[in-house]
Amino acid sequence: MKQTNLAVVLLLILTAPLRAQGYLLRLDGRVQSVAYRGVRLDSIPLSAVDTAASGALYSPDGYAVACAPGGTYCTFYRPGSSVQNAPAIVSADFTMWGLGLPGLSLHANARAGGDLVGGPWPGTEPAVQLLEAYARFQRDWLTAQLGRQVRRGRLGFTGFDGAAVGARAAHLGLSAEGYLGLGLARGSVLPATSDLLNPFDEFQPTMRQWVAGADGDWRFGYGDVHAEYQREVDRDTHNFVSERVGVTASLHPIRYFRVDGGSEYDLASGTWGSSEIDLTITPHQRFGASGGIRQYRPFFNLWTIWGAFSPVGFHAYRGSAWVRPVGQLELHASGEHYQYEETFTSTALVSVADHGWRWAAGAGLGLGAQWHTALNYHAESGPGASSRGWDGSISWAPSTILTLTADGGYMERPLEFRYEQSNLGWAGLYGNLKLNERLRFNLSGTWYGEDRQRPDASGFDWSQTRIIAGISWLMGSGADRLSLPPAVRRRESR
C-alpha cells in the first residue's frame, strides 16, 4: 500500500509538467525539533511503600504509587531521560487540467516524512500519507469524482476511496450529490483496520467499511439549505457502523442579520446529535455580534461499545462580539456556558461538576502598515479541568516580504480529578520570508517553561523548546493565480 501511494504521488508530480496544459503544484516542507522530559514506568515492592498520614501511598523517594489490591508491587511514573523528536513532513498539493477533455482535472494531496531522530511522534506514520487523489470531471450541470476524496458537510469530514456524482440546476439553485466507497477512519487518512489506529489493542474491524451517502443543497436569494444522509456498513458482518442524517440552514432574510443552524440525528441510536442555531448581526463594518445555543452529543461508531454506555451531551448558550471603535483597534469578546444533561448516575463518593463556562476577551491594534499587536485573556472552568491565562504578540512587517512576530503568554491549568496544577509560560519568535509569490520560508522558535505542582515528587515539568522551519514552493502554469494571498492565515496573524 505504501509503495502504491508513493508511486501515485511521484507519477503525478513527474508527469505533470510534460503532459498537462496546466498544472499547479505546491510543495511544502516543514521540520520541527522538540526536546522534552520523558516518563518511565517504575515499580517497587509493596513492602517498600510508605504510608502518609492521609493514607496515601508513596515510594521512599516521594512518588505517589498505585498498588493493586492483592498485588505484591506498586507502580508509578518517574522522570525519564530527555526525549528528542524531529518530525519532518513534505506535502505536495497538485492540480492538473487541460487534459484534452474539457472539464477533466486531476487532484492529489499527499504527505511524506517521518521523525528524523527516530522517536515516535503522533501523525508521522505511515511514512507516505495520501490525503486525496482523485480525477474530477465537471460540466455545467454534472460533477463526477473518482478516487480518494474527503467530503465535508454537516456530518463532518468523511474520507473514502470511491466515486461521487453530482448534478445541479444552477438556475434553480439546486444541487444534489451521491457517493459510495470504502471508508477511511474518522479524522484520519488511514482505514479503520490500520494497526496504527489501535494503540490499546482494542476491538477493531477486520475489513474497511462501505460508506455511502447523498446530500442536497438549495441556494436561494435569502439563504442556503443543506441536507445529507450517510451510512457506513461493515463489509464483514453487514452491520451498520453508523447511520445519520443532518440538515443545516443559513438564512439572511434581513439586512445585517444572519441565522445559521443545523442538527444531526443518529438513526442508529435514535438520538439527536450535535445541533446549534446562531444569530449574527453585523450592522456596521466596525461592529458585529453573534449569539446562539448549541447541543453537543458525542458520536461513536457502532463497532465500539461506547454508545452502550449512554454518553450524555450538554446544552450551551454562547455569545461573541467585536468592535473596531477607532482606527485599527479591534476589541473582541466571547463566552459560553454549558450544562450537561442528567446522567442518571449515583456518585455519592465523587463530586463532579455538571456545568461549566468559558470566556475570552482581547484586543488587536494595528500601528500603521508595519506593526500589529494583540493581547488576549481567556478563562474556562468545567468538569475535569480548568484554565486561565493571557497571551500577547507583536508583529513587524518592514516590507511586503518579511514579517517578524514575537509572542508570549502565561497560563494556569488545574485539574479536577488529579492533583496537578500546571503553570506555563512561553515566549516565541516567528519569522516569515516571502521571497516572491512562489517561494516562502518561515522559522520559529518557542520556549515553554512549565511548573507542575503536585504534593508528591511526580510533578515533573514538560519544559521544552520547539524550533520549526518551513518552506513553501508554488509552481505551475496558472500564472494568474499565483499572486493570491493564502486563504488560511498562518501564525503571524494570530
Partner: protein, 481 residues
C-alpha cells in the same frame, strides 16, 4: 554697482519675456461691431455662407480697400481661414436657403438669427448661440437636455472632430448623467440603445452618446464591450479617454448580504455580472471553483479591464473567526468552497505532524484538557482519537496499566473508580483517550466481572441491536436479551 546693473538688466529681460507671453503677437479676431456701419450684409465678406462655390472668408484685397495704410492702417489678414475647431455639422448655405424661403430672400437677418442674441443690434455678432439653434429646430428644453435624436442635427460624432484631448476633457456634463441609476446602473445603457430617430427608426447608438464619446471611453468599464451593439456602433477614438470613467460598484454590492447572495444573483443574471467582471475577476477569489467563472468573458483585447477584485476575508471572518467558522462552514459548505480549496481545509482538519502553528494557540498542549473535556470544539473533526489522543497519552504515561482499581491517575478523587459514572457519561470521549474497552468490561459486562449495567434510562437496546448486534455481543455474548 556692476552687480546692481546686472540685476536690473536681468530683471528687465524677465519682465519683457513675461509681458510677451501675456500679449498675443496678433489676434485674427475681426471686430464686427466696429464695422457695423460699413457692411450692410454679411455676404459681402462671407459669400460662401450662401454659395458654397465661393470662399467663406474675405480676400485680403477686400480689406485693403480701406486698410491700405493711408485711409486706415494695414491689417495682417492674408485670407487664411482661422483654425477654429468645432463639432458642428453646420451647412451655412442650407441654413441660408431655408431662412430665405421662410422670411424672404431680401432678409438680412439670416446670419444674425444664429450668430447673435435675441434683440441684438446689427453686427453685434458672436459665435453661434445654441439657444437660437434650438429655437429654430423646435427644441424647447435646455441645450444638454435635448432629445437624443436632436444632437446629430447639429453635432458631429466625436471621432469626426479635431478636438484635442484637453478640449474633450472640458466637455460639460449633461444633467442626465447625474440622475439616479444613470451610472452606476443600467440607465445609461438603456438610453444608449433605446434612442430612436424622427421616423421611429432605432439608432444603433444614441447620437447623444456619440457626440461626446467613442468606443474607447466605454472600454474603461465594459468587459462585455464586444457583445454590446451600442458600444460597437461607436467608432474607436483614444481621445475619448480624456473623459475619465471610474468603475463604481452598484448599490447592491454594498449590502452586507451581497457576498453570500452574489452567487445566486450571478446565476440569475449572468449578463449583468459580465458587464464589469472578467473571468480573472472571479478567479481572484474563486480559485478553488474556477467553473463558476465560465459564464464570464476572459480578459483580452477589445474588452475593459473591468472590476479589479482584491481577495480579502468576507465580513464574517472577524474576531476569533477560526474558533467560530465551524458553524458557518457546516451551514453553507458551498460558500466556503467558493474561495477555499479543500486542501486548505485539510491543512488543519488533517494536521501536519511537523507543524504546530495551524489552528490551536501556543501552549495548547497544557491547555487542551479543559477544552477537550467539554468539547469546546469537536476534536474528532481533525484528530483521530486513537491515532492522535491515545497515542500521545500512552507515550506520556496517561494510560491505564495493570489493575484498573489502582486508581493511579485520579488521585485527587480517591473514590473515583467507585463513583466515576457521572464523569464517564459526561466526558466519555475523554475517558476513552486513556482507557481501553477491556478496562470498562472489567465491571460492565453481562458475562463476567461485576455485571454492572452501563445503559442509561433512555438506552434503546432494540434499535441498536437491529443496527449492529455485534456491539451487544461484546458484553452479552451470544445471549443478547
Amino acid at each position: 554697482m556692476r552687480r546692481l546693473g546686472l540685476l536690473l538688466a536681468l530683471g528687465g529681460l524677465w519682465t519683457s519675456a513675461a509681458l510677451a507671453q501675456e500679449t498675443p503677437a496678433g489676434s485674427p479676431h475681426f471686430d464686427h461691431w466696429r464695422h457695423r456701419k460699413v457692411f450692410p450684409t454679411c455676404l459681402t465678406c462671407h459669400p460662401g455662407a450662401a454659395d458654397p462655390s465661393r470662399p467663406f472668408w474675405p480676400k485680403p484685397e477686400q480689406c485693403e480697400n480701406c486698410h491700405d495704410g493711408k485711409v486706415e492702417e494695414k491689417v495682417d489678414w492674408d485670407g487664411t481661414p482661422p483654425s477654429r475647431v468645432s463639432n458642428l455639422r453646420i451647412k451655412h448655405d442650407v441654413h441660408a436657403e431655408k431662412f430665405h424661403k421662410k422670411y424672404g430672400a431680401d432678409s438680412t437677418q439670416a446670419c444674425m438669427s444664429c450668430h447673435s442674441s435675441p434683440g441684438a443690434a446689427w453686427m453685434e455678432v458672436r459665435r453661434a448661440v445654441p439657444a437660437r439653434c434650438l429655437d429654430c429646430h423646435g427644441i424647447t428644453v435646455a441645450h444638454h437636455e435635448a432629445p437624443d435624436s436632436a444632437c446629430a442635427t447639429c453635432h458631429l460624432k466625436l471621432p469626426e472632430t479635431k478636438f484635442t484631448e484637453a478640449r474633450i476633457a472640458k466637455f460639460p456634463k449633461p444633467p442626465s448623467h447625474d440622475a439616479e441609476g444613470f451610472y452606476p446602473g443600467r440607465h445609461h445603457g438603456e438610453l444608449a440603445e433605446g434612442a430612436k430617430g424622427a421616423e421611429g427608426k432605432p439608432y444603433a447608438v444614441a447620437p447623444s452618446c456619440a457626440t461626446c464619446h467613442a468606443r474607447d471611453f466605454c472600454l474603461q468599464c465594459h468587459v462585455n464591450a464586444p457583445e454590446v451593439k451600442a458600444i460597437q456602433a461607436l467608432d474607436p477614438d483614444p481621445r475619448s479617454l480624456a473623459i475619465e470613467a471610474k468603475l463604481a460598484a452598484p448599490a447592491s454590492h454594498k449590502d452586507p448580504r451581497w457576498q453570500p447572495r452574489h452567487g445566486a444573483e450571478s446565476r440569475r443574471d449572468k449578463a449583468a455580472c459580465s458587464t464589469c467582471h472578467t473571468q480573472q475577476s472571479c478567479l481572484a477569489c474563486h480559485r478553488a471553483t474556477p467553473a463558476v467563472a465560465v459564464a464570464m468573458y476572459p480578459a483580452g483585447p477589445g474588452r475593459g479591464v473591468g472590476a479589479r477584485i482584491q481577495r480579502k476575508p468576507p465580513s464574517t471572518h472577524v474576531g476569533k473567526w477560526a474558533d467560530e467558522h465551524a458553524r458557518v462552514a457546516k451551514s453553507t459548505p458551498n460558500s466556503c468552497s467558493g474561495c477555499h480549496a479543500r486542501s486548505e481545509c485539510l491543512e488543519c482538519h488533517r494536521p501536519n505532524a511537523a507543524s504546530a502553528d495551524a489552528y490551536h494557540p501556543a501552549g495548547w498542549l497544557v491547555r487542551h484538557p479543559a477544552a477537550a473535556y467539554s468539547r469546546q470544539t469537536d476534536c474528532a473533526e481533525c484528530h483521530n482519537t486513537a491515532q492522535f489522543c491515545t497515542d500521545c497519552h500512552v507515550s506520556s504515561g496517561l494510560r491505564s496499566v495493570g489493575n484498573l482499581l489502582s486508581g493511579q491517575y485520579h488521585d485527587a478523587q480517591p473514590s473515583f473508580r467507585l463513583g466515576h459514572g457521572q464523569a464517564a457519561r459526561q466526558s466519555l470521549e475523554s475517558c476513552v483517550s486513556c482507557h481501553a474497552e477491556r478496562d470498562c468490561l472489567t465491571c460492565h459486562s453481562a458475562q463476567s466481572g461485576r455485571h454492572f449495567n452501563p445503559h442509561g434510562p433512555n438506552f434503546d437496546a432494540e434499535r441498536l441491536k437491529k443496527k449492529n448486534p455485534q456491539m451487544c455481543s461484546a458484553c452479552h455474548g451470544s445471549n443478547i436479551p
